[in-house]
Symmetry: C2
Subunit: 454 residues, 2 copies
């Protein structure tokens, strides 16, 4: 007998099981694709109409790529899969007894299997009031907001310099030294030092300061120490000031307080913490302190064999370590759902999930990256070799031929011409705190400019 505790809901006489998948990130989408050939009816619910290739979001934020290069409508990806429908809607509650999911539109979906893959969002460690001053990077909207702020800072500085011969310090502070923080800091340094060289008349964009602040002793804490050290060295060469062991105690409009020192900042970005989507708590299962649902090796929370938790939302331990919240395990978990439900159909024992780690990588600006390769061979790569590997892997995993061609040709263009194709400021023309700094005047600013971080 399979481990599926109860027979399928079949009140209407139809025995075809209904699978509801919430969230169409890497995990949810792969789960949907894995179910395409099975005799099930799949409903994918996502509050966005598009799947986002999150590893390249920072390139949308730093004006290399356009949103459409890394995002695709979920229903287009799944359009040929006739057993699958897509609803753009938001889950408001889940009843695991009745096996129903309620949606914001007031609709209710009943399920035989439920897959929750709603991932994680930024965590300000309880200081949500910092959010407007230090946006994080999780969605296309976030990326466009970061793009707006970074590009606008240079425009406002040029304007201020032209008028008064002085501008508030052009400091960019990135809080959090994980892969996203390192990628953002490197990319900001690149755009300031390389890609804007000929564009301004009054300011010198290459004089902008980029500060990367992390609480811990080293950047890329999840990577081996030698790669962290290489990343810090590369960042140093790019001109990024790395401040480890720096505790951020407060964030306001245009400033950060770290180790009791105040740093004026034109733009502050948040890459420090993530917390699980609130959907994990809705099913009443045990979670870890970040809100991730603790799952067994069938990816089920205790006592709910028809509910699967995938990707960043799952707390899955293997060999004594928690599997990290990145794309690879999410995709493998998604694939695994197909095998599990297939086993249920065959009345076989469900296979146990095991994460197969091929490695991990992060870019650091133009032409450099670090990579911990686990498969097909074990190696620590850095510099140009790691960067080329990074490009190959990311092009390969992008969904859609058009996106691959488009992203690759944008990269080639950017690499050879030193221009960025998507340097557009849209929306509002203000920066939090900028006007305060302008009004405070140059003398005070000069002090701030020379003050160190620690």
């Amino acid at each position: 007998m399979s481990e599926l505790a109860r027979p399928f809901h079949s009140g209407d006489g139809v025995a075809r099981p209904r699978v509801v998948i919430v969230g169409a990130g890497f995990g949810g989408l792969r789960a949907a694709l894995a179910l395409g050939h099975l005799p099930v009816d799949v409903t994918v619910v996502d509050r966005r109409n598009h799947h986002t290739f999150q590893p390249l979001l920072y390139q949308v934020a730093l004006a290399v790529l356009s949103p459409a290069d890394i995002a695709q409508p979920i229903r287009t990806i799944l359009s040929r899969q006739t057993n699958t429908e897509v609803l753009m809607d938001e889950v408001t509650s889940i009843d695991v007894q009745e096996r129903t999911v309620s949606l914001a539109s007031s609709a209710q979906l009943s399920y035989d299997y439920l897959v929750i893959a709603t991932g994680a969002t930024h965590s300000y460690f309880g200081k949500n009031e910092w959010a407007p001053f230090a946006p994080g990077l999780k969605s296309i909207e976030d990326a466009l907001e970061i793009r707006r702020r970074v590009l606008l800072a240079f425009e406002l500085a040029e304007r201020q310099m032209q008028e008064h011969g002085w501008h508030p310090p052009l400091n960019f502070v990135v809080i959090g030294g994980g892969p996203t923080g390192v990628e953002l800091a490197g990319a900001i340094s690149d755009i300031a030092k390389l890609y804007m060289r000929h564009d301004f008349r009054h300011i010198d964009p290459s004089k902008a300061r980029v500060l990367l602040i992390d609480n811990g002793p080293r950047v890329l804490a999840a990577y081996p120490e030698d790669l962290s050290a290489k990343a810090e060295r590369t960042l140093f060469h790019l001109g990024v000031e790395v401040h480890t062991k720096s505790h951020v105690s407060n964030v306001g409009p245009g400033w950060v307080e770290a180790n009791d020192q105040r740093i004026e900042a034109a733009v502050i970005l948040w890459a420090a913490g993530v917390q699980a989507s609130p959907l994990g708590k809705m099913i009443g299962a045990p979670t870890d302190k970040r809100g991730c649902v603790i799952v067994d090796n069938n990816l089920n929370p205790p006592g709910l064999p028809e509910v699967f938790i995938l990707g960043d939302l799952a707390h899955f331990e293997q060999d004594g370590h928690q599997v990290p919240g990145v794309a690879q395990p999410a995709m493998q978990m998604g694939d695994h759902i197909g095998k599990t439900i297939e086993a249920d159909f065959a009345l076989k024992r469900r296979p146990a999930f095991r994460y197969f780690d091929k490695g991990d990588m992060a870019t650091i600006g133009r032409m450099a990256a670090v990579a911990k390769v686990e498969w097909p061979f074990k190696a620590h790569l850095s510099g140009f070799a790691a960067w080329v590997t990074w490009i190959a892997v990311h092009i390969f995993f992008l969904i859609g031929f058009r996106n691959r061609i488009s992203v690759f040709s944008q990269w080639v263009w950017t690499y050879f011409t030193f221009t960025r194709g998507a340097r557009l400021i849209t929306g509002d023309q203000r920066l939090p705190g900028w006007q305060d700094q302008v009004e405070a005047g140059p003398s005070q600013q000069e002090d701030a400019r020379t003050a160190g971080v620690r």
Copy 2:
């Protein structure tokens, strides 16, 4: 003696004249480029950081192209032109006596020559309260808002149909039958009937109704009658319902009143009227009823030989007709500024501006267009031939090699795969009036659905 009435402002002893150009659309940008080789100092002021290729904005709105495909940073376009600086700022007032321009940042620019090329915006004929219900198409932000509404309407209908087996009528109403209205209506019809065929499970997107409403007796009123007739025939074949002689008396959330009949609409778009930028009025010169500044054949308002008005903001008559507010005359006027200032330097008589009309064209959905060709031969083209001509002309006039390659490859991709690359919904997930229609229920809606427009 030149027609320049007064000597250059040279209080600081520098004789190099200062040219301030306000607005970096087709006219302003071409004026800046025309001044690149002259011994003048040029300041280009625009409230956006990018030049937008407006003729392709509707393709951003209908998810074919990304914003970055048709927009480029103004300072990048002008970066190699060393006598030119770019300020992202907004003009708040102009003093033609003192020859100064005041900016929103509180800066002031003094000028020897002033070029005003700030174009036009939508006009709701005094009914600005209609704006939130019927957005127009002038900027990248507008295009993204239209994209959001059009794509969201299909998503909400699918959701509603899935839940209740019924949805409010999927009507798209475009008000205004000029080139923009015709292009929008054709493109919406295309996306509904061709590009979403396999994507939905509960609704049939091809059943969406597209209505094009115009006050006058025919669409494309500025074109010859035979081309208007061909355009209407093409629209008919695309399934667009063309309602000419329809007077719009009111617009609200989710409905339009035309010829005293109420049409329910999921999305309403405004392409009916334009009004000149308010900067025309700031210089105190005579304007026409749309606010365009009446200029002589040196492009000067009366009595201000150092002020030039270009593009859509200029009311320039030639052979008894007003030159139309499209890209071609704006570009030619921009070029003309270079010749005029060069003549002033040589103490020669300023050349008179004369618009050289090469023709005009509008696309009507996939594979059809109408074109009135004036040069190099005279012809009225329609259908496929006009469409190919349209493509060639638009690729040619796009600024930047990257953009040309990118747009052309997106078109080839879209043409052959019947997919649209930029089908992303970003931002808010509501449509004005949709929820009211859902609450009103199906019966009333059925009535509305069967009711004609006239």
